[in-house]
Amino acid sequence: MPTELVVPEAGTRELSYAEAIREGLAQAMQADERVFLFGEDVGVYGGAFGVSGDLFHKFGPERVIDTPISELGIAGAAVGAAITGMKPVLELQFSDFVTLAMEQIVNQAAKIHFMFGGKATVPMVVRLPGGSGTGAAAQHSQSLEAWFAHVPGLKVVQPSTPHDAKGLLLAAIDDPNPVLIFEHKLLYKTKGPVPEEAYRVPIGKAAVRRAGRDLTIVGSSIMAIRAVAAAARLAGENIDAEVIDLRSLRPIDLTTIAASVRKTHRLLIVYEGVKIMGIGAEISAMIAESDAFDFLDAPIARLGGADVPLPYNPVLEKAAVPQEDDIVAAARRLVREGRA
């Protein structure tokens, strides 16, 4: 299976983000009988967001397992299955429900390999639909990936395109460590080219979506998509933005970001998680500590989620997270005024 960065050729057929994940799951389960999918409503119902679709009919109830509403229990079950030779893929219905499973993910999955002196491995994958924009309000709309990027022993990824959704899933299934995949609800229906064969997108490698000279915009998940759109608009104002799609939060590709900042001298970080104490804070600090610091010609700017539980009202909901307009305005301010 190719493991290098795969750029789809022109003419590749298009799939939606959800279809791409489904195809990845099917190919993984086909290739390796140790892989199985489980979670709430993933079987007969086809998944709350339609991701598992007809996998239940293709692979049967022993490979696509419906579970009771027991997030702590099923997270622990993923750990137990993984340490005894299986490769479980757990779907937590909303990423917000990971709070119920924290014990098994943080105290067990992340630490078993280390605590046992390298003797056991936990090759499990947890898929979590997250993010806001569907009016699901405070308890069903969060972006909690930063919490897990803070835990040694875990890996955390966020695909933004259908191509990367499939490739990162296959890479995650292949990884002997616990990997959390934060999918974004608003992206499930977006379409993009997805190669038919199985392939991996390397974990820990960012993608430069657009090359530019005036500033670097770093984002992940839906923010990477909005940043690319913002960059197209900024080009019309003669601001040439370089857009980096992180794809991986832990491990994070500091090398690519630093190289970009050395070139453009300005950095804008865009993320949906709450702004303070989030990934933007970490990336800012990493850049300030790196040799890219000497090449900054303006303060590092961050656009993050507002300091508020996600509101129900749609106008408020939109105002609570960075939108394309916000990215354009922030980039303009950074380049034209040197202000964060």
């Binding site: 001298h265 702004k275 303006a298 300091d307 105002a319």
Partner: protein, 404 residues
Amino acid sequence: MPIEVILPKVDMDMDDGIITEWKVAPGDRVRQGQILFDIETNKSVMEVESPASGVIRDLAPITGEPVAVGTVVGWIDADAEAGASSAAAAERTRTTSPSAAKADIDHPTSSPEPAASVEAASVAPSDSIRATPLARRAARMLDVNLADVAGSGPAGRIVEKDVAAHAGPAPKSAVASADRLVPFNPVRRIVAQRLAESARSAPHFFVSAHIEMSGLQAALRHPGGQQSPDRARPSMTVALAYLASRVLALHPLLNASIEGEAVRLHPGVNIGVAIDDQGDLFVPVLRDASTHTLYDLAREFARLRAAVRARQIVPDDMRGGTFTISNLGMYGVDAFTAIINPPESAILAIGRTTDTPVGRDGRVVLRPMATFTLSSDHRIVDGVTAARFIADLREAIEHPEGLS
């Protein structure tokens, strides 16, 4: 309350240092972290930062004499009256605009402009200089004094284009404009001093040899012996350092230093390799080179070279050399004579390898040949000593058995 400015310990085994230059004058307002003066240690010149902000006075004079570590060399009166009130005013404007701050968090499009402009008004123009890291770097490289530059950024911050504009267009015209006086940077200052000293006091003589490189070239292309675990192929320079180190182990006078009227023989061979980076000369040292494998040396050299490029090389990596090699072959130089790196007793200059007609078995053939020139200090090394070394070096290079 006045704050001491002391001569700090910046190096291991350092008991004293020499102040070489003050960057500020008595009465200047200084900022915490600003460079106050340069001190010279055995191997390098280090910049010393201010421990506090305030007005500096009573600077120790520059005598060229060593000053003990910990000696007070200046005093800073932290934040005189004018400074205190402007700092407080800046604080007040920051804390009395909570709505501006909140707006920043909730609506990233609104800017904290009111606070910044009040701040700019209450700060005296002769106060600390705001400049971005990039602007500072540009100022260093273009030799621009930031105090002379007007900043176009927020709160008068100097950005890179301000420095570039100040430095003016580069003289590209065929007609030379006025001379530019570029003061030595710290590295250049050290190099100049030491090599001048070396040329002055060590009676140099030179011994050359044309050495056939084909054996060594072949050995490096197809390394026998142990495979390097990280698959790094050693460069010709590292291979020559490796071979030279083994030959030096047999020629102690070339791995020695003069001390008064005695010769200090060194037990280990620490080979310095001259490296140029952006016009500055560095000589990182491969410690105990004669006891390491070729691949260990290659790895270590790669580390040192990366550190030089990142300007993160530390004095420790450049001290303790007992012999130096300098390879100008990659610049197309056929042969040259190098100045000994004190307190060493010899240095090896390496020219480029070219196919040269030589006589072999009564015929003229083309062989890849390079000219090696050994400079030696005639106070401790005689002609025959140098000659024997060169002969052994030739043998090692032309017959590199089992390079490993």
